[in-house]
Every structure is written in C-alpha cells, then in structure tokens.
C-alpha cells in the first residue's frame, strides 16, 4: 500500500505505485480487448507521416478537435458587458449549463445566465410559453436591468421568432412594457462564438439605436470582440484612453463581471456599460473595433448609422499599437501623450533586448482569426517565422488577408494561413513540418504531448493555467506581457534541453 495519512498521494502519484501499474497491466491484458502494442506503435508513427497528412486533409465531413465554440457562448459574453444584464438563452437548458461552466473554467469566476428550458413539448408547439414564463421568472428572481435574449440551435431549427415572442411576453405582463430586452438569433450551425458576439452586440445596439435620432458628438465607442483577456485588455484600453484624455464608451464592458472580489458578497452583476451610455453611444463620432473578424455586422451597423468604424485585428506589438493609437488620435483629434510614447520606447527596448532569441524561431499559431493576425504581426516584427497559422473559425477572406500579411514580410516566406482547419490538421502540420513553438489555448496541450512542440498558452479558453486573463495582451504594456510569456518559454526550453550534467551542461548558462 502506497497511501498513507502522513503523505497523502493523489492521482498524480498514487497511480504510479506498483500495485496500480500492475493492476493496469492485468486489466489491459485480460479484459480490454485492445490491439497489440506493436500495432499501436506502428499506427502512432503512421499518424505523423506525410501519407497520413494527405488523408487527414482530404476530410470533408469529420471535424476533429476544432478551435471554435458556438454562437450563444459569444452572445452571453457580449450580454454580460452591459450593466445589470442577465443573458437569457431561448432553447434547450443543457446548453446554458455548458456555457456557464466554460466561462467559469476560464475566468475562475461565477457566470450567470438562464435558459428557457425547452423540452419535447416546446419542440412540437414552439417555445412561446417558455419565453413568457421564463422572462417573468428571471425578472422576479434576479432583478436585472436588462435581459438579453439569444437562442440555441433547438429554437432556431423549430423557427421560434424572438421579436414576436418577446412582444407577446410583454403583452402578457411577464415583464414591464418598457423593460429592455434586446435579442439576437444565434444559431449554432452558423459561424462560431465570435459570430454570436457580433450578433448580440448588434442586437443590443439595434435595440437602443433603431428608433433614436443620431446627433453626433465628439465621443468614441470601443468594441473589444470576444476576448479571453477581456479583464486585462479592457482595463488597459481604459488606461490608455484616459491618458489620451478621450471621452469614450466601452460597449460591452465585461471586465468587472469577470473579475469580482472575494469580500463576502457574491455579485451577480458588476460594472458593465451603463444602459444610458449604450443608448447615447449612437451619437459618437465613431466606433473602434478591436477584432475585425467577429464584429463585421456590428461594424456595418454603426456605419449605417453614420459613424466612422475603425477596424483592427487584435493589435500586438509596436507597429500595430502605433497604428491603433494614430488612428484613434486622427479620429478624435487628441494627441498621443508622452506617457504612451515612453511606454512605446520601453516596449521596443525590451524587444531589442530579446530579439536574438526570437530571430528565426519557427512558430505555429491557432486561435480566433483576429487574434491570429495580431500575434502573427508581432512575431514577424520580432524576426520569428509564423510557419502555420490556423483559425477553425477563419473564413476565406481571413485566409486571404492572413496570407497577405505573411507574404508581405521576409520572415513570412513559406508560411501559410489555414482557414477552416481544425487541431487534428494542425497535428499533421506539426508532425510533418515541425516548428519550435506552438501558440494556442489549453487544448494545445494535447498537441504538445503528441508531437512534443512546446505550447505557449495564448487564446481562449485557458483552463489549466490561472489568472492569465487578468493581464492585458493589447497596447504597449500588453505586448510586453506577450513578449515575456513567449520569451519565458523559449528560455525554459533552452534550459530543459541543456540540463544533463556531464553531457549538455556547457550550454546551461546563467546569463542569457
């Protein structure tokens, strides 16, 4: 027996004890009916071959380990960025449990959302009663200032009409007539979580803006897009905008609700864009979109209202941040202050100190399309080579734009954008055209294990590391965080590959 009260072993060590390893072996041999080890090894090797890659890329129906989620997840993410807003997802209830769990696992925070809990009868008769009763229950129990309604694929397949359902619910007295209930249809079989963000953001703005008359003022709006670093990023944006002396509205500011304190009180709602501000945002001069892919419809909408739309792709690094700030300066007429220029210089200073360790290193990147572009631009700026850049939810346009970004740099030659591919495709790419480092979310750890490519965790979700979402990856400061994160991994790998005493220890340097 290996277990003891003195030194309690949990799964990490317990199952490596001989009594367990022997048990595993006998279970395998006597009962499992598996294939011989030699065959398993043969197939394992084959899955890393070029022949396998070709078969893998010939897939037309099967998707394996996609790096994308579905629309209502993004709709919830956008909804909770508004003051006192309860996301209400019309359809099957299991979806909402999944969304809430997904956010809680990433942010290590509560995530509140309700479902209209449709079941078989609603599948037959439609979910109107669920909407009517559901809005009344939500309103009574959770006292929101606004309820933002989105849909699961069940409600979409049976064709429930949110606009008329919400109107009927109001007529039936579920909620007051004047109560704000923006909505968006968010079918899971179209696009991904970033599409859901776009639809919901547009839904909220449409709700507030559609009947209002625009009177342009000097303010600007900011839309971050679906972003796993929203807590750190939005706070960094506010800091930079305050330094510039801007008058601005963050639309969908969920940086507080995903970062509430432990002080004895549970805050179901915290912070968020004031509803008054969301209304008044119509009058802004323009709106800044930090992630082009996943805010296209909202950008079109603000333009249709007469606003200017400034569109970026998750700017990381000096050039991208320069362009971001200059565009905002141009839009608002405000100067970029010395404080930010000094931050720029510090970032560049750090990049210059470390560039030798990036130069010529080969990277693979996957994630949401705009995130991929931002990180790619930064790596190119550092002289690294982003060999494989993959976005499961990247469309053809993204593929073209991404490839153009690579082709425009001497460090992007021979590098390729992969739109609509999944992480099993990435596995073949890593196996047949190896790189030094992989950048991606938590699921990348399976690739790290299978292929041995060290994983740098940047993306969403990150379940298996804590608190990364609290630090920004935007702006000069955020870029510095990205730089350090990548650099730490580079140095760790150098140390790991030189630490055999008497064999490779000559390169195990204390100064790098």
């Amino acid at each position: 027996m290996s277990q003891s009260a003195e030194k309690v072993l949990d799964h990490m060590n317990l199952f490596r004890a001989p009594e367990y390893t022997e048990m595993f072996e006998s279970k395998k041999t006597c009962f499992e009916g598996g294939h011989p080890d030699i065959k398993v090894q043969e197939i394992a090797d084959w899955t890393k071959s070029m022949e396998y890659r070709e078969k893998n890329f010939a897939r037309e129906a099967l998707v394996i380990n996609p790096a994308k989620a579905c629309q209502p997840l993004g709709a919830i993410f956008a909804s909770v960025g508004f003051e006192g807003t309860l996301p209400f997802v019309h359809g099957s209830q299991g979806c909402v449990s999944y969304f809430r769990s997904h956010f809680s696992r990433h942010f290590k925070e509560p995530s509140s959302a309700v479902s209209s809990s449709m079941t078989e009868d609603a599948a037959v008769f439609g979910g109107l009663n669920n909407m009517v009763d559901g809005l009344a229950n939500s309103h009574s129990l959770y006292k929101p200032k606004m309820i933002a309604v989105s849909t699961t694929c069940m409600a979409e397949v049976i064709g429930d009409d949110l606009d008329s359902f919400i109107k009927t619910a109001k007529q039936k007295g579920s909620i007051p007539e004047e109560f704000d209930v923006p909505f968006a249809h968010t079918p899971s079989f179209v696009g991904s979580h970033i599409t859901g963000y776009d639809n919901m953001m547009k839904g909220v703005l449409t709700h507030f803006w559609e009947k209002a008359k625009r009177k342009e003022n000097k303010k600007i709006n900011f839309v971050g897009g679906f972003d796993g670093y929203t807590v750190g990023n939005l706070r960094e944006i506010k800091r930079m905008f305050d330094l510039m002396g801007l008058d601005y509205t963050i639309l969908g500011d969920n940086s507080d609700v995903f970062d509430t304190p432990t002080d004895g009180e549970f805050r179901m709602y915290d912070g968020g864009t004031k509803l008054e501000d969301a209304k008044a945002a119509l009058n802004a001069k323009g709106t800044v979109f930090m992630q082009q892919y996943g805010t296209e419809k909202t950008a079109e909408y603000v333009k249709s209202k007469g606003q200017e739309a400034l569109v970026f792709n998750h700017p990381v690094g000096v050039t991208a941040t320069d362009e971001f700030l200059m565009a905002i300066s141009k839009l608002t007429g405000k100067e970029i202050p010395d404080a930010l220029e000094k931050e720029r210089g510090r970032l560049l200073d750090a990049m210059a100190d470390s560039q030798a360790y990036f130069h010529g290193k080969r990277f693979a990147i996957y994630g949401d399309p705009s995130l991929c572009m931002g990180l790619t631009a930064f790596l190119l700026e550092m002289g690294a080579e982003p060999v494989h850049v993959l976005a499961t939810n990247g469309n053809k346009d993204w593929g073209v734009a991404m490839q153009a970004l690579l082709d425009a740099s001497p460090f992007g030659q021979g590098c390729k954008a992969w739109a609509g591919k999944d992480l099993w495709h990435m596995r073949s790419l890593l196996a047949t055209e190896p790189v030094d480092f992989l950048i991606g979310n938590t699921y990348g750890k399976f690739l790290e294990r299978d292929i041995g490519t060290p994983l740098i965790r940047i993306g969403f979700p990150v379940f298996d590391r804590h608190h990364h979402h609290r630090s920004p990856v935007w702006g000069y400061q955020g870029s510095l965080n990205v730089l350090v994160k990548i650099l730490d991994k580079i140095f760790d790998e150098m140390d790991k590959s030189t630490n055999v005493a008497g064999k490779t220890d000559y390169s195990y340097d204390i100064i790098r």
Partner: protein
C-alpha cells in the same frame, strides 16, 4: 428558533421571490426532512422552470458526457453543431490509459460540425461519409457511437439507418444514440437512453463475441463508476484484493470488449444507481445476473459494502473482504486521527447529481462532519427514498435547486463547506465560504476506496482550514 422551523421559514422566504405560479411549482421541490418518512418529501424528475437558472444539463450530457464518453476505445461523434462536443471536450476527467488518437479517444472532440446546409438538407449523407473518414484515420477504433444533438431529432435524420448500413460495411459496432438535448427534463433521460442503446447495440448479439471467455465463480462487473480522478481504479484494487475478478468497468476506463463480456458476470456491482440501474435491471432480467448497490466513500461505508459484496460469495471471498478491511483500516484510522480534530462538527451543504448527494454523507461523518442540506440535480423518487438512510431529521432538501435558492439557503444556513459544481464554486467562494467541486473532485481525486478517502479528507481539510477565508473582510471595515 430550532433548525426545522428555521429551514421551513427559509423555504417560505425563497418561494416568495417567485411569481405565484412558479412558487407553487417550486414548493414541491423544497422540503425539510422528517425522520421516519419514506422519502425526503420532495417531488423530482420534473421539468425545470424556464428562466430560473437551473443547474441541470441535458440528455446529451447524460449520454455522451456520462455513460458513453468514457468508453475509451470507441469514437463518440457529437452529431450536430460544434458547441455540445466542444463544451464537453475532456472536461469530465474520466481517466483512462491509452494512446490518444491511436487506440484511445476519450479526450478528443469528434463532431459533424453541422452547418446551415446540413440542417436544411439533412445530415445523413455527411454522417455516412464521416464514418468512412473515421475509419481511414483511426483504424484501431473498436467502434463508434453517434451522440445526437438537438437538431438531429428535429430535422428527421435517420441515424439508425446510417449506423446499420455502416456497421455492416465497416464490420464494427456502431451505436446510434437518440440523446437530443431537448428530450426529458435533465441528464437523467440521457443516461436511460444511453443504457438502452448499450442494451440494443452492444449486449444484443454479444454472445458470439465472448467465445473463449473463461469464466470464474468470482467474476463481477463494476457498473456506474466513471473513474473521475481514478475512482474506479481505487475501487477495483479492493475488489481484486478480496479475490474477485473485475471483468468490466462501466464506463470509466472501459472498453467495448468489457461491455460485451459483462453478461458473463456473476454479480453486477452498482455505484451510480441513477445512471446505470437500467442496464443492471435488464441484465438481471435477461441473464439472471443479480446486482448490488455499494458505497465506496469513507471507511465505514467501504467496510459495510465489502462485507455485503462478500456475502454474495463463498468463504474465500468473505475472508478476503476481512483481510482487505484489516489491511486498510489502520491507514483510514490514521487519516481520521490526523484530520478529524480539524473537521469535527463542521457543517456541509451538498448539491450534486447521481449518487453523491447521499453516498458521500458517510465519508463526511467518518471525519465528524455533518450534512445540513442536500439535493439532487436530476434525482428521481427512488433516490430520495434511498437518501432517508443517510440524512438526519431537519436536513434541508432541495431538488433541482435554482441558483437563487441555493444562494439564499447558503446565506442563511451558513455551512462551513459547500460541495457542488463548477457553476456554483465561485459564487460561494466570493461569499467567503469554503467550497469543493463534488463532480470533478475539484481536479483532485480519486475519492473512492480507502486510497481515495485519504485524499478526500486532505481536500476537505485544505478547503475548510485554508487561511484565505479569514481575510474576506478588510480589517478596517467594521
């Protein structure tokens, strides 16, 4: 005010927050246990109210996430849009041993990733092609299951026909499962549907596949252990040590072959009654295999269970059970000696699924702790009947609790520990209340068996006695 009166008043208070119609419905799910009653006084397995923030999941979660997902040598296809498979991807920690992507597939997400055209024109052709692609890329898979997501049943796809055709063409077991998320009221129907699919597509016709199986008088199957953090392993080791031969694990670290061999068992041992009583009853009826519920949480229940299991066998096994108890009890005693003084009289509120709202009570009591409230996400009346053997008079009982109710209950009852799920964890930690996830063991485990009990005790101690909880109020705040 005594506890019973307070709890009754508390229930009235939370109900007053609902619209009248909903309050009436919810009142049937909330109760204060009366000692001597045959159940806990709540209605269960009823539709959740819309808009109340139920903690429940769906039939797909019950089938793919619970029953089928852990069968490691089969590929489970999340059939429909991308989300369901994505959110349930590798998140349940049903440990297994195998080469992922080669001969084991438990931590991968296979999906047909439905697009609009699949909804409009149907997904059967895509499914057909997808199965060929699976076979090409993963030749060592031992079978497939098709886990239906909501749209499948709504657009009229015939996954049974596709599965039948492809099973014949490929020559492997292919199991269509009608676990669309809108079916039933919770995960529970998904368990039942998944059990029925095992019956129809695995056990049916399995006789031919177990030729050459050499039976012994001591063959048992472990049913309803999902090997969360290695639970089934910490259980199996005890059964083997007492002289039994575990021929199958359902379904944690399980394989298709093990399922097929289960009709050869002399006794089915059931841990999670809720999710796998159906198939156990079927095997009793069809193959005359008796089944026995057991409880491997905490030394008291473990010893009771080992003896009850042994009582079904001869003296050799009975002696084996005593030998196992004698071997491990000193370690369990040492664990209790180490932790009990730190945990004595601490109160716990639970809200979990399956078997845990009752099964873990004994383990807490072994450490001197007291359960003051408990409830099931997707229990049925037979669960609440079984619960009466575990809980004391005045215990607060809540079925399909809503986030609102649980928050209010905890605020008033002020337990020393809450044990529930990921969606609840941070709510209560913000309130300064120690918490352990009792679905995933909060990324720890195993909690089953004697080895698991030591970890359970350590974890409860580190949750409750962590110094961080004493600092929730800023010192300058009165």
């Amino acid at each position: 005010m005594d506890t019973k009166t307070r709890n009754k008043a508390l229930i009235e208070e939370v109900l007053s927050a609902y619209p009248e119609k909903s309050a009436k419905k919810r009142s049937k799910h909330l109760s204060v246990h009366e000692e001597g009653n045959s159940d806990c006084g709540v209605k269960s397995n009823i539709k959740s109210l819309p808009g109340v923030m139920t903690i429940r999941g769906c039939a797909y979660a019950g089938s793919k996430g619970v029953v089928w997902g852990p069968i490691k040598d089969m590929i489970h296809i999340s059939h429909g849009p991308v989300g369901c498979g994505q959110y349930s991807w590798a998140s349940r920690r049903n440990y297994f041993i195998g080469v992922t992507g080669v001969n084991a597939f438990g931590t991968m997400q296979f999906t047909s990733d439905f697009q609009e055209k699949d909804i409009v024109f149907g997904g059967d052709k895509k499914l057909d092609k997808l199965m060929d692609e699976v076979e090409t890329l993963f030749p060592l898979n031992n079978g497939l299951s098709v886990q239906s997501e909501c749209p499948i049943g709504l657009i009229g796809d015939d996954i049974e026909a596709v599965s039948k055709k492809k099973a014949k063409a490929i020559g492997k077991t292919i199991v269509p499962v009608r676990c669309e998320g809108f079916r039933g009221v919770s995960q529970s129907l998904g368990h039942h549907i998944a059990n029925d699919a095992v019956r129809d597509y695995v056990l049916e016709g399995s006789e031919g596949k177990t030729k050459g199986f050499e039976s012994t008088p001591y063959d048992v199957a472990v049913i309803g252990d999902y090997n969360i953090g290695g639970d089934a392993w910490a259980s199996r080791i005890l059964l083997e040590e007492m002289g039994l031969r575990v021929i199958a694990q359902w379904s944690g670290d399980g394989t298709l072959k093990e399922m097929e061999a289960t009709p050869k068992a002399k006794l089915n041992l059931i841990h999670c009654y809720r999710s796998m009583n159906y198939i156990s009853r079927y095997m009793e009826e069809k193959y005359n295999i008796p089944w026995l519920e057991y409880n491997f949480f905490g030394p008291t229940k473990i010893a009771e269970s080992l003896r009850a299991i042994a009582a079904q066998f001869d003296d050799k096994i009975k002696e084996g059970a005593e030998r196992v108890i004698a071997k491990y009890q000193p370690m369990a005693d040492a664990v209790i000696a180490k932790y009990k003084s730190r945990l004595e009289a601490k109160t716990v509120m639970l809200y979990v699924g399956g078997l845990r709202p009752r099964h873990v009570v004994g383990a807490y009591e072994d450490l001197g702790m007291e359960i003051v409230g408990t409830g099931y996400e997707f229990g049925h009346n037979d669960d609440y009947q079984r619960t009466t053997h575990y809980v004391k008079d005045s215990t607060l009982i809540y079925d399909d609790v809503t986030a609102y109710e649980l928050e209010k209950f905890v605020e008033t009852v002020k337990p020393d520990l809450v044990g529930s799920g990921i969606k609840e964890k941070y709510v209560f930690q913000k309130m300064g209340i120690p918490f352990r996830q009792m679905h995933s063991w909060d990324y720890s485990g195993p909690y089953h068996g004697y080895d698991g009990f030591a970890i359970f005790a350590r974890d409860m101690d580190m949750a409750i006695n962590s110094p961080v909880w004493s600092k929730t109020k800023a010192p300058w705040k009165k």
